[in-house]
């Protein structure tokens, strides 16, 4: 099976960490870095790299940004104008790719989103929120860390309901405790209705259709069982 690919633009401290984490999760990493002096370091760190400049449109194709197996594009240059330019051209080149970028200034988020980024992360904000949680709700932070960053067996997973699943057309509330096993349904996203996430506690009467994405919490094993259950086809 071919591995899913991630392309990261610019090599710096944060992109190296992201690359390491994603490589650990089994993605193939390609670093796009024009600076020749960094090539050695990228090689030592164990990633593939390309020195083609992304400022030229034809190079976007050359590094494979239009391939279906490229899952995401990280735009992590320190220069925010360069980021804007590249996000804009990548989005124009590939409508479906997931683009994630960083901005150190909250006011900058909007232009980046307008340029076509799916998600703009703000390191200062993320860290500040984390500290706030530590002060305000320390236990929840711990629980979420365990779930999100997989220190324990408990995971968060999203399951998309396929067509003809036995749960296609069932009310959310009918997925009762017994069927759920030892898992918790956080909620679902109904692509047809909106991009907004519906929490389980409010969406009891929501009808599950194919294409909906359920977000569930549970131990890896239970999740597997639940997943196969959901994907049982109607006879």
């Amino acid at each position: 099976m071919k591995k899913n690919k991630i392309i990261i633009f610019s090599y710096n401290e944060i992109s190296s960490q992201i690359a390491h984490i994603l490589q650990g999760k089994g993605y193939e990493i390609l670093i796009s870095e024009e600076d020749e002096t960094l090539q050695e370091k990228i090689k030592i760190d164990g990633f593939q790299s390309s020195t083609l400049s992304l400022m030229e449109d034809e190079n976007l194709e050359k590094i494979g940004l239009n391939h279906a197996d490229v899952k995401a594009f990280f735009c992590l240059n320190e220069d925010k104008n360069k980021n804007l330019f590249i996000i804009l051209s990548v989005r124009h080149f590939n409508k479906n790719i997931k683009i994630i970028s960083l901005s150190s200034d909250i006011d900058n988020n909007k232009p980046l989103i307008l340029a076509g980024a799916n998600k703009v992360l703000n390191p200062y904000e993320i860290s500040a929120f984390r500290i706030f949680r530590l002060l305000h709700k320390p236990y929840i932070l711990d629980v979420l860390d365990n779930i999100l960053f997989s220190k324990s067996d408990i995971n968060i997973e999203e399951i998309t309901i396929k067509k003809d699943s036995i749960y296609d057309g069932v009310l959310l509330s009918e997925l009762d405790q017994a069927k759920r096993g030892n898992i918790i349904i956080l909620g679902l996203q109904d692509k047809e209705l909106s991009e907004e996430f519906i929490f389980f506690s409010a969406g009891i009467n929501h009808k599950i259709d194919n294409g909906d994405t359920l977000v569930v919490l549970g131990k890896s094993n239970d999740l597997k069982i639940f997943k196969s259950l959901l994907n049982d086809y109607k006879k």
Partner: protein, 528 residues
Amino acid sequence: MKSLIISFAYFLESSKNYYQIKHLVYQLLDDVNFKYKKYFDFAMIFLVLSTIAILIYEVNHPQLEILNNFEIFAIIIFIIEWLGRLWTVTHIHKQIINDYEKSEFLNQPYFLAKSIKKIIKDKLAFIFSPMSIIDLLAILPTYRPLRILRILMIFRLFKLLRYTSSINEFSQVFIEKRFEFFTLALLFFIAVIFGSTIIFIFEGAGVNPNIETFFDAVYWSVITITTVGFGDISPITLPGRIATLFLVVGGLGVIAFFTSIVTTALQEKLQSIKEDKAVGEANTMREFTIICGFGRMGQVLAEQLQSVKEKFIIVDINEKQFQDKKFANYTTIKGDASSVSLLKDLGVVHRAKAVIALSDSDSVNLAIILTARSLSSSINIIARANRKKIEKKMYLAGANKVIPTTDITALVASEYVGQPVAFDAIDDILLNDKHAVMEEIEIFQNSSFIGNSLQTIDFDNYNLSLIGIITKSENNKFTFNPDKTSYILKPKDILIVIGYHDSIIQFKAEILSQKSKLFKRKSKHEKK
């Protein structure tokens, strides 16, 4: 007689009421941090201002009976206040007891007179202190034979100084800058003597009809040197006019010197007054957080803390960080957060609950951690680490939690690749949006839920999902999705639930008042 006094002193020493009353009077008069003091101060300021107003009114109006009575009332209050200060300034009975016990210890006869001498000396020291003299000057003019001293009533205005600590600070300026002021006064004095001598020599001996005595000459030179120049006395001879020219130019210099001393001194003072105010605010706070470093992270954190009404103080070495209007209602202090004295003043030792080191320099953060930890072993210290390598050192220095900024961002960013929907859900929860919130609910020690199974709480009824339970008694063990029938609630358990804000508030209120709906239903069940 002597033994009677001694036993009375012991009686006072052991009397709780006496102490309480004396302490209350002291707080009212002198304790800046006492919360009712400001009402007392306002009342006194009103009295002072109103008696001054009466004085002005009576200059060209007939005396009114009611105003006289008010005057007497005010004076009585002033006298009581002064006596109160005289009373609380030292403890007479303690002096007696101390001396008595000392002589008992040394096996020597005790002389009451000796103690009385000491007591009188202490009290006199108070009576002749500047503030007490101002008080006395405010009282004395009412005494009929001293009616001529009515003008001294103006001194009551100085009483206002007592009730406004910041004006007090300004008067400090004159003490701190006394060397400069002394130089200035000397310069002024020399110039005046110089000028008046010249004018007196040239124009004093009947030349100028306006200058008859040396005092006229001094008066003229002071009016000239200060650039006021009334013109009632003016030089008529050439040497006199030349002297005037020098005096006027010299006068400008003196004025400039004076202005610059006062303005710089006041500016310095203003800064420290502002800080004292912030430190004073910190002194009245409890359970607050100290944010050290007010960059972008500090701003986001402050915003969040503000939104949940948590108390905090911000320290930054660069005051420019505070200048935005947005931060006007934050308590801010300019200073070095790694300095022991500042952190101590802010109450790291007993009152603050957390210190957050958010400087963008790792070494500064390390210094803040070490300083805070050296002051308190129990305070919660959270620090930001810009480089991962420093993380371990920060834990060694005593941080409770270190946040490596790039690490966290990288983790979050890479999580976003895999499960964006799940991530958005968590993001929503984390960012405390209007949607759903995750909340910790603690089961209190004497809650009646203790010993019952989880089933007794009907989460569905509140539209809440239970994620898990943290068992404090078992080293904060987290049980994910515990079995509702077999899990028995223990004291200090923490329930982690997800739900909408409103339902969580309702749930919390009801679980605290212990009337969960299902709980009732279950008790009915038991009756059957």
